[in-house]
Assembly symmetry: C2
Homo-oligomer: 203 residues x 2
């Protein structure tokens, strides 16, 4: 069966603790994140090649034209994308590659990498979602309304996801274990084994 | 999330040890098999309602007409089928329901129960498949040729399966553990959570 790593897409409403989950996954050396490419200007705390790969808008457009990006999106005037090459190299090294991206990017990944596991991280109930969207007390009413509208829009993408993982308050380790269990059975998924099946059943 | 049991379809080439795997699964009280309905005459060792439910051909035809059967097949002049009602009741009781059926039946189940988990039990390699198809020394050349042809035909159904589980010689317990791990993450599958998602994200 396959010995390649799994490609893991992690999405979910704002404030659901995706960042914490990714940080915890990265404590396991079998997990890596793919470094994104962006056109935004580097900040003081950026480390090129580590936090981001920095390119010009022209270079970014060329990457799109040459189909070098597995997914890309625009955010407040800057472009962000994930190179296909980076993902492929990391997977080949046997690592499980994490992409923390939103729904539209997730769909692009599924199109390019049908074997990707799409995981939706969700709060346990509606009330908690509301609380988390209202955030750390720093969000304005307009912010909250915007985040609710986004959550509602993103719901339509859920049927394209493979799993829903509940992140209870203060139980991020449970969500991380759920994700690791999902990844551990992934080598048995039919869509991971087309080569095995083809070479095997050469009856 | 869901508290219902999972519906488990187990298929695979002849002689792969599916029967042993099912027997081992049944040692766990969370697993049950659904009793089939058949038109064949009861044998001395049959217990009606336990080994099979026995019906007349007319009753069987009525069950088909009334869409009471989740799947059915003909085998040497007799009919065999699985009632939808039996499956639903067992699932509601929280049990994981096992159906050991061939590919055509598996597809019928997937149509009626899209949330079913279709598992293909496979020998580890082609040579082992050949050995197992040749069987316990009791199979004629004609038998073996027939079984090879069946295995080849069934291969076309593999893309409709969800998982492939390898059954190594003398390692049926490993295959059973693999299946239990698959079942344990099933409540997180998106297709198991449409109700949760609908009631939850009523934004």
């Amino acid at each position: 069966m396959t010995s390649k790593g799994s490609l893991l897409v992690i999405s979910g409403p704002a404030g659901t603790g995706k960042g914490t989950i990714v940080k915890l996954l990265l404590q396991d050396e079998d997990y890596v994140v793919s470094v994104s490419t962006t056109t935004r200007a580097p900040r003081a705390d950026d480390i090129p090649g580590v936090t981001y790969n920095f390119v010009t808008t022209e270079e970014f457009m060329n990457m799109i034209k040459n189909e070098e990006l597995a997914e890309f999106a625009e955010y407040v005037g800057n472009y962000y994308g994930t190179p296909v090459k980076t993902i492929k190299e990391l997977l080949k090294s046997g690592k499980n590659v994490i992409l923390e991206i939103e729904t539209l990017g997730a769909l692009q990944i599924k199109a390019r990498f049908p074997e990707a596991i799409l995981i939706w991280v969700s709060p346990p109930d509606y009330e908690t979602l509301g609380e988390r969207l209202r955030g750390r007390g720093t969000n304005t009413d307009e912010d909250i309304a915007k985040r609710l509208a986004t959550a509602k829009r993103e719901l339509q993408f859920l049927p394209y996801y493979d799993y829903i993982v509940i992140n209870e308050k203060g139980r991020a380790e449970d969500a991380v274990n759920d994700i690791k269990r999902i990844v551990s059975i992934n080598p048995m998924a039919i869509k991971q084994n087309s080569n095995f099946i083809q070479t095997f059943y050469k009856l």
